[in-house]
Symmetry: C2
Subunit: 95 residues, 2 copies
């Protein structure tokens, strides 16, 4: 069916994304969010639908790639959102 | 069952997370990832299981909150990963 073909086409785009280091990190951070909040049913569908089966690196490996202090009380995505460079926020020197 | 009680307990933690501005943004970025790659089955489970039904703000609103140039070719999570402040990378002034 056309819908199935469309899904295969878009899975191809996702597979290309997952073949990059940044893409695999991004998808891992999404999966870690599901794991962190124990969204088990979602996770059970996400892994096969996304093609992440066997590719999920786990929180410790993802934490190392993020290279930022991550609270155990939060999912990794919360850390990278906080990490954003917002304007001059992170410049501590006076011009 | 104990497992069901545990899931309710953890959904409470997620609901508390979603009641914060940063948490809602984080969950929105996760949902946008699913939407971007047309992971429809995952999305259909994620919305009710996470409690995001009716809370998803959509990509344009999330983009405004991220306040960063986001390529149409990528999910929002890719932009915030790139945005990370890594070490002295974003300091342009000499001490």
């Amino acid at each position: 069916t056309d819908k199935k073909n469309r899904k295969v086409h878009h899975n191809k785009r996702l597979q290309q994304f997952l073949s990059t280091k940044e893409g695999l990190l991004a998808a891992g951070i999404v999966q870690e969010f599901l794991e962190f909040f124990q969204l088990d049913y979602t996770g059970a569908v996400f892994e096969p639908e996304s093609g992440m089966s066997g590719k999920y690196e786990g929180r410790p490996a993802l934490e190392r790639q993020i290279d930022y202090d991550v609270s155990d009380e939060l999912p990794l995505i919360a850390a990278i959102i906080k990490q954003r460079c917002t304007g001059g926020h992170n410049v501590h020197l006076n011009r």
